[in-house]
């Protein structure tokens, strides 16, 4: 049984569906994670200590447990919790795709939080003073002066984190969601074509991630010139 390219070609439509799901999950988790991560970062830097501690606790918790475990929590344990709350007869299933979205947004928020925190802290104190001196309030100063600069400074790191996220989404395989790797895996099992499928998937991941990293590096250089 030699290497059969035809297997890959035949399964392309199915793989494409899985790939679309992977991209969709990555994009949703990146946007959601960035949004909640930014709020978390603001909370961590808040002068109101309980809020800062709560945010820090959340971030440290998320960063100290494996991602697979968080996936399991939501997939297997959350229904039990919901059952306890609602008093339903059977644990209401959350479903693989919803579990994946919720988990990745919550998990990535912790990592994006730390990036945005560094970004906010990289802005000189004088900028904050200037914004306040003009009469801007906290939210106006954040939204118009601090966050746009913090975000711009952090674009390369944020993109690098998103590339890692793109690879990490393949973990949804453990809750049987059909992402790119999941799709390839299903065909590999069905047709006993493990070599073709797992090699093809690896090549696609490698080419994409390598290309993206290379683009980020170029972007980094361009931003460095502007400053």
């Amino acid at each position: 049984m030699g290497f059969d390219f035809q297997v890959i070609v035949d399964s392309l439509p199915f793989l494409w569906k899985g790939f679309q799901y992977t991209v969709q999950l990555t994009a949703t988790a990146a946007v959601g994670g960035l949004f909640f991560g930014t709020l978390l970062a603001m909370a961590r830097l808040s002068s109101f200590k309980p809020l800062a501690m709560l945010a820090a606790g959340y971030v440290n918790l998320m960063r100290s447990i494996p991602l697979v475990l968080v996936l399991f929590w939501f997939f297997f344990l959350m229904p039990l919790v919901l059952q306890g709350i609602t008093g339903a007869e059977r644990p209401p299933p959350i479903g693989a795709e919803r579990t994946a979205i919720i988990t990745f947004i919550l998990f990535e928020a912790a990592y994006f939080c730390e990036i945005m925190r560094a970004g906010i802290q990289s802005i000189a104190r004088g900028q904050v003073h200037a914004a306040y001196a003009l009469g801007l309030n906290y939210w106006q100063a954040m939204g118009n002066v601090i966050l746009p600069q913090a975000f711009r400074n952090m674009v390369p790191v944020l993109l690098t984190q998103t590339i890692i996220l793109f690879q990490d989404t393949s973990l949804v395989y453990v809750i049987s969601a059909t992402d790119f790797l999941g799709a390839a895996s299903k065909i590999a099992q069905r047709d006993s074509r493990l070599v073709e499928m797992y090699l093809f998937v690896a090549v696609v991941y490698f080419v994409l991630c390598y290309l993206l990293s290379w683009l980020v590096k170029g972007l980094q250089r361009r931003i460095a010139v502007i400053r």
């Binding site: 000189a124 004088g126 900028q127 003073h129 200037a130 914004a131 306040y132 001196a133 003009l134 009469g135 801007l136 309030n137 106006q140 118009n144 002066v145 746009p148 600069q149 711009r152 502007i226 400053r227």
Partner: protein
């Protein structure tokens, strides 16, 4: 009623006292220069006036409004008090035009066109209308500081605070900024200016305050300050900076 009234203001960083019972006032239309060696607390003092620095004791009134009162709407008070910083602090991600319009639109709720027109008018005043669409990073230090002054003026402030406005500038750019400030002083703007530029003080100041170790050591009319009767510390300081 004085425009700025500072009464017995003290401030501590932990156990270290940076301001010690500072009391002074700036009348409407008055130009007051604050000088003193570095670390004397003069920058801290001027930043307490619009509440950028908190203080633990004493009170400050700006146009009768208490800065130290937690019920005071600080943003509203600050919007009426222009401030110019040592390092300009223009917003680098916005063009000069956007820098001038931002707070007018967000804080004073002016229409975009109106804010823009007003901003350009002040840019013309400081001689920089041609640079409206550049980013701050494309301007020289002196130009940036003039934009910063225009930005503060476009909010129609009732008084202006200057925190070492020329200290970060190359020598050949200092005068272009001082010229704008002198003009402003002559128009009757109320100004509190932390600076080492004694030429500026001589030309337009009404009073000069000398600070050392967090204390106001001397608070005198300009002619008295530059005349003979004054404290030893102020004399030594003047001798050092007037030499060159």
């Amino acid at each position: 009623m004085a425009m700025i009234e500072i009464r017995d203001v003290s401030k501590w960083y932990g156990a270290f006292q940076v301001l010690k019972d500072c009391t002074t006032k700036v009348e409407k239309g008055e130009v007051v220069v604050v000088c003193g060696p570095s670390g004397s607390g003069k920058s801290t003092l001027i930043k307490t006036v619009n509440g950028l620095e908190a203080f633990q004791k004493g009170e400050i009134l700006v146009n009768g409004i208490p800065v130290h009162d937690p019920r005071t709407n600080l943003s509203k008070l600050r919007a009426g008090v222009g401030m110019v910083f040592q390092h300009f602090e223009l917003f680098p991600h916005l063009t000069v035009r956007q820098n001038l319009a931002l707070a007018q639109v967000k804080v004073l709720k002016r229409a975009k066109d109106e804010a823009d027109a007003r901003g350009v008018r002040y840019l013309e005043r400081v001689g920089l209308a041609a640079h409206a669409d550049k980013f701050p990073g494309q301007l020289s230090g002196g130009q940036q500081q003039r934009v910063a002054i225009a930005r503060a003026l476009s909010m129609d402030p009732i008084c202006m605070l200057f925190d070492e406005p020329t200290s970060a500038l190359d020598p050949e750019m200092i005068n272009e900024v001082l010229d704008v400030m002198v003009e402003l002083a002559k128009e009757g703007m109320t100004m509190m200016v932390v600076t080492h530029e004694m030429g500026f003080a001589r030309k337009v100041a009404h009073r000069v305050i000398f600070m050392d170790h967090g204390q106001i050591v001397e608070d005198a009319a300009k002619d008295d300050f530059f005349g003979t009767p004054r404290s030893d510390r102020a004399q030594q300081f003047l001798a050092k900076i007037l030499h060159h």
